[in-house]
């Protein structure tokens, strides 16, 4: 997808004045937070699991080459193939090559953020292959030609009336006067339409929550079972995964699975957790004819050994989005690329460049809620600050802001001058603002006073009052 992260401010404005979007975001916010809190309250060892999960991922990242090669060896031994792709273009070409070799006309897709990252659907369509999203949320936004706004709930920006309108406009073979008021009816309709598409598909593409080095398996977690149908009914199952998805063992997978659903949706476990290992064997009753893992780097290996390495622990649970007040205010589309919210604010500049995505790590109050709920204990604010440091070094931050900051720092580093200057300023503001107690407008402070009053200072600085008090009572001893 074409990134609009550089236009974050304009995107955010659009989102803030969109009443329907604001309604949808209001519903989302409370649901995810409450369910997560309840699930975690029931699991006393949650903190210990977070530590364990972090340790597993850190160990894997320190030995990433070893575990990826071990994974590949197991996949090969089970009759599958691993395709190492440096760039989105390489990954797209690999997928297309497999589809064309098998004469595929339709591919079904389980939910995959890597597919979004490499803009796979547009590419397949341009090559006369019809991709069909089978996750309900992804299906809805595919019909609407929109990108996902959330990494696990891609259509969370919509209310159900919009979904009904979309279905009525897209499912033209159905009675236009049918009732589509409640969520159940909408699900049933999507289910019936999609069932036919599953049966006709030639290739099934899924993402992966884990790649297991010990067994050569890929794992997906879903709540709809669509991933299972996608991968079992077709000539080939293509797994799209970025390289940090690998974990050493089945046991490690189990540990992180205990964190994942609780952090994501507040479930103890997702409805379906599916392990796929190689293509169908002669004795199997079903399964794909071929098994391919398209392993995407796209800038991730360059994060190893940098201040951004910790970001590669991310398991895409979305807890940081669900608890972020900025995400809750503007929704996912405002971030302008695939990954929104705090995890996107750190990851996106790594993947598409800080020149394009520089706003994202700045659009945070550093309230720290994201880090406090992250099951992998990723220090998200700290890494956003690293981006700000790089932007400052490269002079990418706005010139007026930099000038203001250096003037302030110049003063703050000279205490005598600082106290003299600020003492005058606070006296003037205090005298002018004393009667009302606040200002409705102030020169150079419109960013503040456009939406809120500026409380007036009391009129004297603490330092000057303290100096006076010391002069009048020089020997203050307790």
């Amino acid at each position: 997808m074409r990134a609009t992260s550089h236009a974050f401010k304009a995107n955010a404005h659009e989102a803030l004045v969109d009443a329907t979007l604001q309604k949808a975001l209001g519903i989302m916010k409370s649901g995810f937070q409450v369910r997560r809190a309840e699930a975690i309250a029931k699991l006393p060892e949650f903190e210990a699991l977070r530590e364990a999960g972090r340790a597993i991922k850190n160990h894997t990242l320190e030995n990433l080459d070893f575990y990826l090669e071990a994974f590949e060896a197991k996949v090969l031994a089970r009759g599958g193939q691993v395709h190492w792709c440096r760039t989105p273009a390489e990954a797209r070409d690999t997928v297309l090559g497999i589809c064309q070799r098998l004469g595929a006309k339709t591919v079904t897709k389980g939910k995959s953020m890597i597919a979004e990252e490499i803009a796979l659907n547009d590419f397949l369509e341009a090559n006369q292959i019809v991709p069909v999203e089978t996750d309900l949320g992804e299906y809805i936004i595919q019909l609407r030609k929109e990108p996902p706004s959330h990494i696990i709930a891609p259509a969370v920006h919509l209310v159900k009336e919009q979904v009904a309108d979309t279905f009525r406009a897209s499912h033209r073979e159905l009675d236009p006067a049918r009732p589509l008021e409640d969520a159940r009816t909408l699900c049933d309709e999507a289910r019936a339409v999609l069932r036919q598409k599953f049966l006709r598909a030639d290739v099934g593409i899924t993402g992966a929550n884990f790649l297991i080095a010990e067994t050569g398996s890929s794992v997906i977690v879903t709540n709809e079972g669509n991933g299972d149908l996608t991968q079992t009914l077709t000539k080939a199952h293509i797994v799209l995964a970025s390289l940090e998805k690998v974990v050493p063992t089945l046991e490690d997978t189990a540990t992180i699975l205990r964190l994942l659903a609780r952090s994501a949706t507040g479930q103890e476990f997702s409805t379906y957790t599916t392990f796929s290992t190689g293509p169908r064997r002669p004795e199997d009753t079903d399964g794909p004819g071929e098994y391919h893992v398209v392993l995407l780097d796209n800038g991730r290996s360059a994060m190893l050994g940098t201040e951004f390495q910790d970001m590669l622990r991310c398991i895409r649970c979305s807890a940081c989005l669900n608890h972020c007040p900025v995400y809750a205010a503007v929704g996912g589309h405002a971030y302008g690329w695939v990954y929104p919210g705090p995890m996107g604010a750190v990851l996106t500049p790594n993947l598409i460049g800080v020149e394009e995505a520089g706003h994202l790590p700045n659009a945070s109050t550093f309230c720290g809620r994201c880090e406090s709920v992250c099951p992998m204990k990723i220090p998200l604010p700290k890494m956003m600050r690293h981006w700000r440091e790089r932007e400052f070094e490269q002079e990418l931050s706005p010139a007026a802001y930099r000038a203001g900051l250096s003037l302030w720092a110049f003063l703050a580093r000279r205490p005598a001058l600082y106290h003299a200057m600020t003492g005058i300023a606070t006296r003037v503001l205090g005298a002018v603002g004393r009667r009302r107690g606040r200002f409705r407008t102030l020169p150079l402070a419109s960013g503040w006073t456009n939406v809120r009053d500026m409380p007036a200072p009391e009129g004297r600085s603490f330092q000057s009052l303290w100096a006076e008090r010391r002069r009048s009572k020089p020997a203050r001893k307790t």
């Binding site: 401010k9 404005h13 803030l16 007040p325 900025v326 205010a329 503007v330 700045n362 659009a363 945070s364 109050t365 550093f366 309230c367 720290g368 809620r369 880090e371 406090s372 600050r385 981006w387 700000r388 440091e389 790089r390 932007e391 400052f392 070094e393 931050s397 802001y401 900051l405 250096s406 720092a409 003063l411 703050a412 580093r413 205490p415 106290h419 600020t422 606070t426 004393r434 009667r435 009302r436 107690g437 606040r438 409705r440 402070a445 960013g447 503040w448 456009n450 939406v451 809120r452 009053d453 409380p455 007036a456 200072p457 009391e458 600085s461 603490f462 330092q463 303290w466 100096a467 307790t478």
Partner: protein
Amino acid sequence: MPDQPVRVGLFVTCLVDLFRPSVGFAAVKLLEAAGCTVEVPRLQTCCGQPAYNSGDKADAQALARQVMDAFEGFDYVVAPSGSCAGQIRAHYPEMFADDPAQFQRAQHLAKRTYELVSFLVDVRGMDRVAAHYDGKVTYHDSCSGLRELGVKQQPRRLLASVDGLKLAELPGAEICCGFGGTFCIKYPEISDKMLAEKTADIGATGADTLLAGDLGCLLNMAGKLHRQGKSVRVRHVAEVLADMTGELPPIGAPAEETR
């Protein structure tokens, strides 16, 4: 309460220094009541957080060194702000990760630095104050104090001892008010949205007074409440705990209005 006097260096914070010096005097009064002698180094200006969070590491480090110089030799350093205390405690050491000598100094300072109310309760064992406040108050947990320093129960414990005060818990008390330092002027529309949700939550409590422990958040919320024409009085928690509300108008209120 331990009766051995301890030497506390008051980190006034730049906002208290310029906007609300009474909070500084409230802090002094509370610290003295907790058996401390208080000094205020003249060399201090700002903890450097605006520079640090803007990616200006050189200025942030220079200001951190200035603070480390100014507060050499105190038993404790106390700030009436979780944000500034958090900057010193949580971020000064990481800022000097590549500079062993400064790192050691930063760690030494970090270990002795506290947010005011948590210092009174956790370090000095204060469990009550001699104060009176007629009103139904609600309390906003400022982000840095809450998540970097674990300030949560301490202000509630002391507020519970204030004669006449009733506490109504704020729904979403742990959600950011939208201040975020320079965030509120860099992204004013988003800040305003967060702030409007906060003031709606404050209104829903029916409280007549809003308290918090950080002046940045308080200026932000007071400014919005006034803009919306709401009559909620806004104060730093230290003003109430130090029983100074009788002589001092609430934040953003006209000079003659006190309570």
